[in-house]
Amino acid sequence: MNESITNQKLSELDPFLLNNLLEKFSKELEIFKWDIGASSSRDISVQVQQGNAKQLKGSQRNSMTLRVWNKDNKVGITSTSDLTSDGIKKAMKVAIQACLFANKKESPEFSSQAKYPLKELNSNIYSTHSIDELLSILKNAEKKLIDRHHSIDSVPYNGLSESYMERIYINSEGANRHMKLSQSSIYLYAKAEEKNKKPRSAGGIRINSNLEDLDIESCINETSDKLISHLNYKPIETNKYLVCFTPEAFLQLISAFSSMFNARSIIDGVSLMNEDSIGNQVSVPNLNISDEGLHPANVGAFSFDGEGTPTQDIKLVTNGILTNLLHSEATARKFGAKPTGHAGLGAKVSVSPDWLVVSKSDSDIDKDESLSIKNTVKEYILIDELSAIHSGVKASQGSFSLPFDGWIVNNKKKTSIDAATLAGDILNVLKSIVRIENEQIITHQGISPYVWVENISITGEA
């Protein structure tokens, strides 16, 4: 008999059956220590083009990563999307084979926190909508956006989706985590073109736990406002400028260099920090950075990580000083620390941030308190969005050279910048912050205020 551990109609995982199967196979194959992370998702999404449905997509996906420890305590893993009993048994056999090639110097163990109580998250599963309802909403959003300005000719990239996700962690010592959540999102990326000018584009994205609370109107407003503001553009001169990062752009930059806070990257020698960096001043004294996966605004939050460790809020930089790192079980053991709930699941376990929060510390005053996104009249560059982060960031060297969307602002008048890149060194940027505004703004990727930095190199085409 070949059992499937998913409910076929709902594509939901059954942790009880999964646990029974794994116990049975582990006995058969003489494996006494194992753990698994399994996930299941189903989603439905629509795209439109000039008032018509374009592509409609749905998916039911299941996957599982299985780790086993052999008699020599060496770890092997295998991932599979075949969650039938045959598929799971085959995965266990392959994982046992992989044990023979495990790294003897660093073997992961179960997290000491895999059975700790979890914080309750608002994980209501909201009912989904029909394709027709989704299409109608997205067609309406597309039309509203195009109607905002005569130059907006299309919304070439768009999508509205609803998804359901669940995640399981089980280990042979009785840890059993299971969580479900639902999510809805919209993205609109519009294009505008005026005679004898280059085409311009801008976009917006919104994510929420359900469609009813998805702020589509503000997504339309943001996209159209940005796009209209980019119609009047000019090249700028290559020079060093006073720069203001929007919350989105500053979070992009910090995320790109999050290996600074990542214990795994430090051990691997690919971080700017090292094992002795805790306690070092890494930025101006009035900058705080934390990772707050449990923040209520993080609608995609899971209450535990890949190793079953509860998701936790961790202060990374306090008053400009590096205070903590993000850990898995293995890195925490190496550093004499505790796992922080930021691990994946693997033979070599990855570590990554959940939801970065940047704030202003009151330990020191800003170098230039007069700067303000609302009131500053002197010339500056407002950086709205960074591009090509995968190719323009050298995280292990600290350097970056990134194209951006933004404006040159003078006497509060914004003029879009044609094509330009900003370049620098992240540690210099963090030490050249001259103003962190008070108001924290929630974005889809974290929270940050506007952050002002002086003397940033920008290459323009003027």
Binding site: S4, I5, L17, T84, L100, K105, P156, S391, S401
Partner: protein
């Protein structure tokens, strides 16, 4: 908690063996789709068996095998399509997915029976000669030994290396494509790629260097890898860049090296010639067939045929054999790259370019092996023609915006002074727009070479080859400090 509905193999046919015995089962599904009123129904079945290895310094630090199964069902009605993917390859699972895809287009099984389905053709089995590829590929033991050999070779050549990494991926994929236009085809794909990257450090100076090599359809590729040559090349690069200064930004002529230098053409032009872009109205070349879009020195092709090249394939993910597609000839645009949906929506003929990362993506028009053809100059002639410029020996990644703006990082660069290579520089980014840069490619050398890479786009990450000879761009914006 929901109680699982157990699926018994004896009670429900499972689509696990991809051969012509599946034909009646698949025809049943396709007939149901047609009976609902669909114009075209396509089923894509996939099995995968992958391994991914990492060696760091002198140890294997990660061994990650993965196994996969899945199906993608796509239904066309006019120019619209519904696509559903699932891991459930039971008949019930596929029927559920088909129903969902039909439902997206307002179609219901059995509601219409006026669309004719004449059945599938006989199976075209491109995989019949490839059934032993998986067994003939290096096993875990052989591949881990090879990676340790590679990190060891790196250590022997440069005492400043702080991090030495070698990675290996073997991706084996068996696919079956069936569609109501009669297409019924099976293939086996084998892609292998090795990557080397290092961090060199001396005092406060740090440099990173990386190389990637890849092949398709060659089980012996890892065995034949010239490790010493790769290690030597990478070490030289890391050492030279260790003391490089930041490049000064500005407009200047550049020479782009061959092989991975072709990423500039891939990103800046190739993507804009995919019907995916034409459909969205974002290609500046949409009305440019038979018009001059590049300097007359430029001819370019996209093909899926070169032996062992990373982007080669026996059939695309819609069951069509790949072509050698001449994109640009002497600066004149000749053809776009098209998949089934792109052809339906834009009228451009299909070119065997329908590709997807796996079953969870609908196929889209994507590049395969894309390169600028070689010219007649020696590479030295290009450099000699520049008084003050930049030589981009190794390119990093890049991206192209929705309206053709592109950027590329330069991993290893050298200033050109008075017709000769000068000191190494770092931190350079090339920025421009395809429409403006193509006419400025004024010289092509006679040393065409290809390099393997991965391309991410609407249908996921696919294996591609980029390539070119050394080329000269008369003027481009170089971002720096």
């Amino acid at each position: 908690m929901t109680n699982s509905l157990l699926t018994k193999q004896s009670e429900d046919f499972v689509f696990h063996t991809f051969d012509d015995t599946l034909k009646p089962q698949i025809e049943d599904l396709l007939s149901l789709g047609k009976s609902a009123g669909a114009d075209i129904v396509e089923i894509f079945l996939e099995k995968s068996d992958n391994i991914s290895l990492l060696a760091e310094q002198d140890d294997i630090s990660n061994v990650s095998p993965s196994l996969g199964i899945g199906a993608g069902i796509r239904v066309f009605l006019g120019k619209k399509d519904g696509f559903v993917s699932t891991n459930d390859l039971s008949k019930a699972g596929l029927l559920f997915a088909l129903n969902q895809a039909l439902g997206m287009l307002g179609l219901t099984i059995g509601s219409k029976n006026n669309k004719k389905f004449e059945g599938l053709s006989d199976l075209t089995d491109y995989g019949s000669s490839k059934n032993d590829w998986l067994n003939n590929s290096p096993d875990l033991n052989e591949s881990t030994i090879k990676l340790i050999e590679a990190t060891g070779a790196l250590a022997g050549k440069n005492k400043n290396l702080q991090v030495r990494r070698a990675s290996y991926s073997r991706n084996w994929q068996e696919v079956l494509v069936a569609a109501t236009d009669g297409v019924f085809a099976r293939d086996i794909r084998l892609h292998q790629t090795v990557g080397l990257n290092v961090i060199a450090q001396k005092d406060q100076n740090r440099s990173t260097s990386a190389r990637r090599y890849g092949s398709s359809g060659n089980p012996d590729d890892l065995r034949n890898w010239d490790i010493d040559k790769s290690a030597l090349e990478l070490n030289e690069s890391a050492q030279k860049m260790l003391y490089a200064e930041y490049v000064e930004a500005g407009q200047m002529p550049v020479v782009l090296a061959n092989k991975f230098g072709g990423v500039i053409f891939h990103e800046a032009c190739g993507h804009l010639l995919e019907t995916t872009q034409l459909e969205r109205g974002t290609s500046p070349f949409h009305n440019s067939i038979n018009k001059k879009i590049a300097h007359s020195a430029v001819s370019a092709v996209d093909e899926g045929l070169s032996n062992y090249a990373f982007g080669s394939l026996s059939m695309d993910d819609e069951g069509m054999e790949p072509q050698n597609t001449l994109l640009i000839e002497d600066g004149i645009l000749k053809k776009f790259l098209s998949d089934r949906a792109g052809s339906l929506r834009t009228g451009q003929p299909r070119t065997g370019s329908g590709r997807r990362q796996n079953f969870s993506f609908a196929a889209a028009s994507r590049m395969r092996n894309t390169y600028i053809k070689q010219g007649s100059y020696s590479p030295e002639k290009l450099i000699e023609s520049i008084d003050d410029g930049l030589y981009c020996k190794t390119m990093g990644g890049g991206s192209v915006g929705p309206t053709g703006q592109f950027n590329f990082s330069v991993e290893e660069g050298y200033l050109i002074k008075n017709g000769s290579l000068d000191k190494p520089v770092k931190g350079a980014t090339l920025i421009g727009e395809a429409k403006e840069i193509l006419p400025r490619i004024s010289m092509c050398a006679n040393d065409l070479d290809l390099a393997a890479g991965f391309c991410g786009s609407v249908s996921g990450s696919v294996n591609v080859t980029v390539g070119q000879p050394h080329i000269k761009v008369d003027s481009i914006t170089v971002g720096g400090r």
